[in-house]
């Protein structure tokens, strides 16, 4: 009886310590910066490399030029306008963000997708809608090369797609 009591206390202690650790870990869940994308060998392209190390990847707006695209935004708009095929069906409304890294050579990689309805609640669009947007984005071969102090840098950028009834109505930023 005494032994089982001690065992219970021990198990509760272990359980409690795990809970506590989890709470501490929650605080430490942040990476270097909000939105940092770690390399994932399962999904990321093998040949995509950042040039200056993950801890030096900037945000597109850190360089003060705003959202700049090679060939201007009209090139991006034209790419999606000509290639995207609307998927009709219920619930094809909301926002899809594709965020990724552009390296010092203007190549893009580590694409990540976020989806929500128009009330900013997470949801999932039809897989075909998402894969089309992802593939068209990946198909844009050259992105603007940003420099800091004359040195080409790696940076995060994103595209947000507004989808209404499956139709692509706006591309941001």
């Amino acid at each position: 009886m005494k032994k089982s009591f001690l065992t219970t206390i021990l198990l509760l202690s272990i359980f409690w310590s795990c809970q506590t650790e989890k709470k501490v870990n929650e605080k430490e869940e942040y990476l270097r910066w909000v939105g940092d994308i770690e390399h994932n060998a399962q999904i990321d392209e093998i040949d995509f490399k950042v040039c200056n190390g993950d801890d030096k990847i900037l945000q597109y707006f850190n360089l003060g030029e705003g959202p700049v695209y090679r060939g201007e935004k009209s090139k991006i708009l034209n790419a999606f306008k000509s290639k995207y095929q609307p998927i009709s069906g219920k619930n094809q409304n909301g926002l899809i963000r594709i965020r990724f890294i552009v390296n010092c050579k203007g190549k893009a990689g580590r694409f990540r997708v976020l989806q929500s309805d128009f009330d900013y609640q997470e949801k999932e669009f039809d897989k075909e809608t998402v894969s089309q947007l992802l593939n068209i984005t990946k198909g844009i071969e050259n992105w603007e090369v940003f420099k800091r102090h004359e040195v080409p840098v790696d940076y995060y950028i994103y595209l947000i797609f507004k989808i209404t009834d499956g139709q692509l109505t706006e591309i941001l930023p």
Binding site: K27, E28, Y30, L31, R32, W33, V34, G35, Q59, F61, G64, G66, P67, E72, K73, S74, L95, R97, R99, L114, S116, F118, Y120, Q121, E122, Y156, Y158, I160, K162, E170, L172, P173
Partner: protein
């Protein structure tokens, strides 16, 4: 002298929502908020995106889960990284605990970052209903919030309502000797789109006097085209191209402003002009 409230050029990385006065909470006996506020001030020197910045604010929220400033400050990095899901959860908390302080900001961000026109209108109109003072400028200082609201009405197809809102706010601004960076241009485009061509020209000329932009000459060209004034049409297109190449165009550090054009638009229009024999 007119005062140009184009603060974005001066403070592109700053925030217009004031840093809270922690001592005020203490004075009014809210010791919990005072402690949360003091903790939150630990963000100084840390980048908004950094884990240090975010962690300090988490600790502030742990002290007082109703401290709106901490939610607002946390939300900024999520907004700028395009994480609309996390941003919305955080900014909603800030609005919940201090609507008068954050409704205008949330409305503006809905418009600037996500082109959430109806949501922006709701927030700005809600703020207007709660306060008896001027609802003020957008976060970046480029627009009065009423101008932003008008642009949202335009985007959802209510152009006459948009015109009325812009006309009213511009008149109020002029009484104070103020003008917005792009206000005349936007109203001019609205007149052009509703076929009030003479009024459009008047507004584009005002924009030229105050803040000349490639977009302004481009839309002026389109107006002259509608009026069959082909010499002015072509001349304005050439000016638009010159301005654009020279960098005198609409810009924003985070987004592409409404009514912005690209070099391709100007060149296509110039090609149209030549192909149609407008020489």
């Amino acid at each position: 002298m007119k005062y140009f409230y184009f603060l974005i050029l001066l403070f592109p990385f700053s925030s217009m929502i004031a840093q809270p006065n922690c001592e005020a909470y203490k004075y009014y006996g809210d010791t919990l908020k005072y402690e949360a506020c003091k903790k939150a001030m630990g963000i100084k020197g840390h980048y908004q995106f950094s884990k240090e910045y975010q962690t300090v604010l988490d600790e502030s929220i742990e002290i007082d889960p109703t401290f709106d400033y901490a939610y607002w400050a946390k939300s900024i990095a999520y907004l700028k990284s395009g994480d609309f899901v996390t941003w919305k959860k955080l900014i909603d908390k800030a609005v919940e605990y201090n609507p008068k302080e954050h409704l205008g900001y949330r409305g503006w961000c809905r418009f600037q970052f996500f082109r959430d026109y109806k949501g922006a209108i709701r927030d700005i109109e809600k703020l207007d209903s709660l306060v008896d003072y001027d609802i003020g400028q957008s976060q970046n200082g480029t627009y009065h919030l009423n101008i932003a609201k008008g642009l949202c009405y335009k985007a959802i197809g209510e152009k006459e309502k948009a015109i009325a809102i812009l006309e009213k706010q511009i008149k109020l601004n002029e009484q104070e000797n103020l003008f917005g960076a792009n206000d005349y241009l936007h109203l001019g485009v609205l007149y052009l789109e509703t076929e009030k061509f003479e009024k459009a020209i008047e507004l584009f000329k005002k924009q030229s006097e105050n803040n000349e932009l490639a977009e302004n000459q481009y839309y002026l060209a389109l107006t002259y085209k509608k009026l069959d004034n082909l010499n002015e049409y072509k001349s304005c297109l050439e000016k638009a191209k010159e301005l654009y190449v020279g960098g005198r165009k609409m810009s924003d550090p985070y987004s592409n402003p409404m009514d912005k054009i690209y070099l391709e638009n100007i060149e296509n229009e110039i090609n149209t002009a030549y192909n149609n024999g407008y020489k």
